[in-house]
């Protein structure tokens, strides 16, 4: 019991209300029933504590645990997995772990940027962006064959990393008036989005949709303006 409470002591999460990367950490901590304090950061006015906890990248999320800090969401997820072993997010099998990590990385390096690119475009440029995004999404569709989640029967590391697709991607589609993950083209991914978004813990922690829409509308306007020929 003493060890358990020592581990539970002093867990802090630095986040913003909207960060899809910080949301991963919220999910992981809550799925493992870890108590923590939240510190909401204003990124235009970063707290001294944040700068102390993440001097290299100065970003959120950062996890503080007993005074020590861990940055980079996928690194934090692994730290959480190793520190709190209940409700594991990764398989014990090394190859399955490597596969989960691969899809998490693919999501961040390919899927997210390609969808973001399409989001920040219009007309023909957007059409081309959507084609590129779909090429990436096809791999995720393939990976879901015969599985409820990327983690199999239960939510795993890759689901958490890709989880933004289940809500933020909907917001992107709405704000940019585009359809990327269509039911007929991506039946498995569409179903996964619904199942994941509605899963216990996950569904209670989405940021307010209307606020996300407003936020991303503002982003898109600024980004399109910056792109326009001067």
């Amino acid at each position: 019991m003493e060890t358990h409470s020592k581990k539970m002591a002093e867990v802090k999460l630095f986040r913003t209300w909207s960060s899809r990367f910080a949301l991963r950490i919220v999910w992981a901590l809550k799925l493992k029933d870890v108590q923590y304090d939240t510190i909401f950061e204003d990124l235009s006015n970063k707290s001294p504590l944040l700068l102390q906890y993440n001097p290299v990248h100065k970003k959120v999320p950062v996890l503080g645990h007993n005074g020590k800090s861990v940055a980079e969401s996928l690194v934090i997820l692994e730290y959480i997995e190793e520190t709190w072993k209940q409700n594991p997010l990764l398989s014990e099998d090394p190859h399955e772990r490597a596969v989960a990590r691969f899809w998490a990385k693919f999501g961040d390096e390919k899927v997210l940027p390609s969808i973001w690119e399409a989001f920040n475009s219009e007309g023909k440029e957007q059409e081309e962006g959507i084609v590129k995004a779909k090429e990436n999404l096809k791999y995720l569709e393939e990976e879901l064959k015969g599985k409820k989640f990327f983690g199999g029967e239960h939510i795993g590391f890759a689901d958490i990393a890709l989880g933004w697709l289940a809500e933020y991607e909907n917001v992107f589609e709405e704000v940019a008036s585009m359809k990327v993950i269509a039911e007929d083209e991506f039946p498995l991914l569409s179903e996964w989005k619904r199942t994941f978004a509605d899963a216990p813990i996950i569904k209670e922690n989405w940021p307010p949709r209307d606020k996300l829409v407003t936020r991303y509308q503002a982003f898109r306007e600024t980004n399109l303006l910056n792109k326009a020929p001067k």
């Binding site: 980079e72 730290y79 190859h95 490597a98 990590r101 990385k105």
Partner: protein, 219 residues
């Protein structure tokens, strides 16, 4: 059952060198298969359908792609010798953070520092040196990032050594003069057989860069 380990690789790739070093450190026997990137083998395309890139580690028929992921895999499977990651979760997270930092920064910035001109070149070089300085701070007084032995950060970073002397020449700076601590770390790594035997020929790497610069119209 004997382990069957195959490495699909391309001789100049620093990402491939990472795996060569790790496999050597752990004394793992493997078959090295050189890929012609202009004419990729069916095995490569089948093993890494998403990126179609090297390196790919194939262990008993199962493929592991992405070099940092493969390093972790190697460490988890062959966990009886030469650990690349520490035991403590916090220290492991720091090692993973810095390996990720190397991935995000060193390759791109180094490349930019010697394939661009003017303001872009200056900016890339400045940021590159700042990254090296950050890494020096992280290294501290330890002989290696992994402590007394090579860790995942050492293995991730040292393959870029082949490129450092190129960066220096075309970037017009000296790591030895500006970052002596880093330079000392490089020398210690080179004393390790697993490292020196895995690095590609320095001169050949230089030729590749001269070629790239020619194609970019810089020579």
């Amino acid at each position: 059952m004997a382990d069957e380990v195959v490495l699909l690789d391309f001789w100049p790739s620093p990402f491939g060198v990472r795996l060569r070093i790790a496999l050597a450190e752990k004394g793992i026997k493997y078959e090295y298969k050189e890929e012609d990137l202009e004419n990729k083998s069916p095995l490569l395309l089948q093993s890494n359908p998403v990126y179609k890139q090297i390196p790919v580690l194939i262990h008993n028929g199962k493929a592991v792609c992405e070099s940092l992921i493969a390093l972790q895999y190697i460490d988890e499977v062959w966990n009886d010798k030469a650990p690349l990651l520490p035991f403590d979760p916090y220290l492991r997270s720091q090692a993973k953070f810095w390996a990720d930092f190397v991935d995000k920064k060193i390759y791109d910035l180094g490349r930019k520092a010697c394939t661009t001109k003017g303001k872009e070149h200056e900016a890339a070089q400045k940021e590159f040196m700042n990254c090296i300085k950050s890494l020096e701070v992280e290294l501290g007084d330890k002989p290696f990032f992994g402590g007394e032995t090579l860790g995942v950060v050492d293995v991730s970073l040292v393959p870029f050594f082949s490129w450092f002397s190129v960066y220096e020449k075309f970037g017009n700076f000296s790591i030895e003069l500006e970052c002596p601590k880093f330079n000392a770390w490089i020398k210690r790594c080179l004393e390790k057989e697993s490292v020196s035997k895995s690095l590609p020929d320095q001169d050949k790497i230089f030729e590749i860069f001269v070629d790239i610069r020619k194609k970019l119209g810089m020579e």
